[in-house]
Symmetry: C2
Subunit: 264 residues, 2 copies
Amino acid sequence: MVPSICKQSNKTGLTCFMWSAGCCLPPSLLLMESWKLLLAVLGSTLHGQAFSSLLETGISIWWTPVTYSEVEFLKPTLQCDCSASYIGFHAVFLSTGREQASLTGQRLALLASEGNNFSCIINSSLTRFTETADIISKNLPDIKMCSSSLLHEGPPTQPVPAESKWIPDLSYFKDGPRIEAAFRKYIHRADPEQTKDSYEIKVCHDNVIRYFVCRALKLPPEAWLRLSLYHGSITKLVIKPDGDVSLKMLGDAGFMPPGKLTRA
Amino acid sequence: MVPSICKQSNKTGLTCFMWSAGCCLPPSLLLMESWKLLLAVLGSTLHGQAFSSLLETGISIWWTPVTYSEVEFLKPTLQCDCSASYIGFHAVFLSTGREQASLTGQRLALLASEGNNFSCIINSSLTRFTETADIISKNLPDIKMCSSSLLHEGPPTQPVPAESKWIPDLSYFKDGPRIEAAFRKYIHRADPEQTKDSYEIKVCHDNVIRYFVCRALKLPPEAWLRLSLYHGSITKLVIKPDGDVSLKMLGDAGFMPPGKLTRA
């Protein structure tokens, strides 16, 4: 079992950072966006199989529609072995949420000053994640921003051991393929034409990050619930040019005073 | 595959913290301590099988002898569901090593003030780990300290993917059973008589912590090299009363300025 993911190049990689929290869209938003489901299903070729089987179930409500966001890679001039790092965050807007986001932004700015040249922030398109990304971006001027509903929260797969609260099988059936599609879209080796390491920030949900970590490390995906993240914590994955993956930190929140530490 | 480890009680657990770095004993020390190998082999009943097979190989040099250290548990009066947390650190005494240890100590003191009532520090008995534990203990007065050579560095098992540098099979054969014995000795549920959560600190090596994390989470042990730790970083495992295990953070070093971050 070799943790090599995707097959793009032997020379280049990609570095990216992530965020997370947990929620569902309010029903009004879901109804508003349900038309996008059809668009996504009809327009999808890459993930057609997953979407088709979802369509057969007749489920449109609770489905989070697909939008395609661009990932920005650095394209400099010097050819070299490049890695790809992904950093994720787990954020929530309770009373201390904005303060947590601000502390995370400051920490990322410090990391940027030490060579993590972040190229973009990709956030879950839910309101509080957009807000988190906005707070982060204040500390990282000139960074490209985009959002994706592929990164919305959901149960990625039946966990082992089982969750203490009951989750209907339907949720796994709907959200699992979407989160897997998000993994394939956002966690991969660097562009073959890339000539320097790239660093990306993803602001997304707890379960999504935990699933990404298991999948990227080629560990059993059903182990995702054995990992736990603080709100606003930083998780860093590095994808090397040969496809090897390294988890550099998980749930790093050491930059927050202990009194500000919360988790779902 | 259910991540329940050991079978002690359904009501109590244990919480403990760890540290790490990588090294070998200097040859002079190894020769001095080689007599302890025989003592360890003869005196061991719990891990007799592992030690016997080691003895059959006739290897005494490079073997790190066994000492038995006590683990201190809190034994208060109120019966409750208790968890066990283990925190580990990855430390090295290069130019910034003592400064890293001091920062980690300060962070642990902050965590202690927020309810992590650390009962003891168990460190690898190598010199720089003893020194690290001493620096930590300055921030945690009245904490019990002990050391163990079971926690010495070594390659725990053949990693997948393979290490870039060649390591003789002999090393895995010698160190693997010792590190597995350390896991069984130090990572388990709380004492059945325990009535409050307990928190332990372990100051030990990079590979040891990575292996402990994989084993505790019931993930393939050969995945240990896919995890990576900063020097002086904090890794936290919680063992719940029912035997479920949760990784709360891995390689947390957010309390250090980015300029102080190093890894092996």
